[in-house]
Symmetry: C3
Subunit: 219 residues, 3 copies
């Protein structure tokens, strides 16, 4: 079974790219803490594919893509090897990494949601699955390295764009299922959603947009 | 499939109440660390429903209730929103929160065990599932916020009442299955078990009852 | 279904021994932090059987052995009780514990891989499952106790022997499946692989063999 996005080889290619750069980001965190090669590679792999592993376990789609899809796994492992060599360069590409991370956020949210819908989950369940796919990798990476997860700590928009993107994906899917739009239009909409998530995440960091915390009241 | 407890609308209502207050407790932990709205809501949801998610994954009952049962999910999300506004009040209700947390411990243990038994697991497996349902949410919350989990740290009775309650639930179930007691009596017994767990947990904190640690011996 | 190794009662016995000592190691970590009896026992159980639980969830073999196989569970719980009494002795057996931990690493890797293969996973998936089985328990223990996991931190060989052992197990399985070797020879090979993993882990600590980190380059 393939999601609307995955019917296009171009989008497939972009997804492997997202896995690769997402893995590089994960590996970099391990490089910074001076861990050894195996830890770097394992961290890269879990960051890139951990979200999908959570999604597949929650869906009962086992064994998960993250340990069974050869191209995804090799892409993630290659990212770990690459960052072990090119870490100074990756470290300097601060804004590029942010953009790539945002791209992964959007792609993983849309694809995770679509996979849920293909397994006939309700829209609500699919939104949870899309959100987990998008934020799971970073969550696992930070738990592994014993830090407060970035998705928790970061006051810029992170989970919110993923949730919104997942919701919009459900809408697009439903329109297509009702015949209101064709599969091609759904694919275009999915791409627009990915770009929207990317834009929200990047703007939020660039312009320091923050979500409010709890309503401030004296205790 | 419904557990004995769930055949009663009253108990169902109490369970949603437990989810709600359990979620408020989880969200409060995020409010205290000054995280943003989305983190508060996600933490509330995972605290309230994370134990059940672990149970369902271990049972293969996917997608888990925690991402597919509309009322439970909305209750947990509403708890997150509520605590973002009413955190000063929740923060003051120290003993009430303890009582509600204890109620959730008991309800989740009994319901988790019953769900396992309904899936034809052995009694031992059901006890593990009940215990996980009861303590899983708090475990996930503390791992997310990068703290030593309360179930680990707290020297008052926490896991123990849950294990005991789960064991008694297995007994009640077996009596009913053998025809020794009716479904109504089993439901009454289940309620007694919940109250017993609540009483054990509260008394343990109130009277500072602690479990012994390792046998103290000079090294 | 049984793996090649499990057809031998001798190997079965050794595996329960590995579970027992692995559990003692986990419980000891909780004893050192002065936690109570229930925490010690739960930590022992999760350290001994957590890797297999992850493997079974990823395979969809639910409920996992770690909560359903009576002998394994009782062995792990007994280990927790034992270490609560004999912690000074266990603490002194530093090298013995290392050897036993290494034995568990090897046995869990070979058995985890074999179980994956029996469920008709690809070789790559089986290697991941074997590796997770071997390192999962320690991972869970350290996440529970809120420490950087030893598999991440330890610069001596840890994940690497497990990965290598899992790969060799896949080879042995394939030779047997093609009729190149008999089941008996496969079992002997499996034992050799376990011993190889043990030797690699122990030598790495004894002679301070370390894996290289990232390629050192000025930033």
């Amino acid at each position: 079974m393939e999601t609307a996005l995955q019917t296009s080889p171009f989008i497939q290619g972009v997804e492997y790219l997202a896995i690769f750069f997402c893995g590089m980001g994960g590996g970099l965190a391990a490089v910074r803490k001076q861990y050894d090669m195996f830890t770097i590679i394992i961290t890269a792999w879990l960051t890139a594919l951990g979200g999908g592993i959570i999604r597949d376990v929650l869906l009962g789609a086992v064994p998960p893509v993250g340990i069974s899809d050869r191209v995804s796994v090799l892409t993630a492992l290659a990212a770990g090897c690459a960052v072990a060599v090119f870490h100074p360069e990756v470290d300097k590409m601060k804004w590029s990494m942010l953009a790539i991370d945002a791209l992964a956020l959007g792609l993983f949210a849309v694809n995770g949601t679509s996979k849920g819908l293909m397994y006939n989950t309700s829209g609500m369940t699919a939104v949870f699955l899309g959100t987990f796919t998008a934020m799971g990798g970073g969550l696992i990476r930070d738990i592994l390295l014993n830090e407060v997860p970035m998705v928790i700590r970061d006051r810029h928009w992170y989970i919110m764009p993923a949730v919104l993107g997942s919701m919009l994906t459900v809408l697009a899917w439903r329109w297509q299922a009702r015949g209101a739009i064709s599969l091609q239009v759904e694919m275009v909409l999915d791409i627009v959603i990915v770009l929207l998530v990317v834009a929200m995440r990047i703007c939020s960091v660039a312009f320091d947009w923050q979500l409010p915390g709890a309503v401030p009241r004296s205790r």
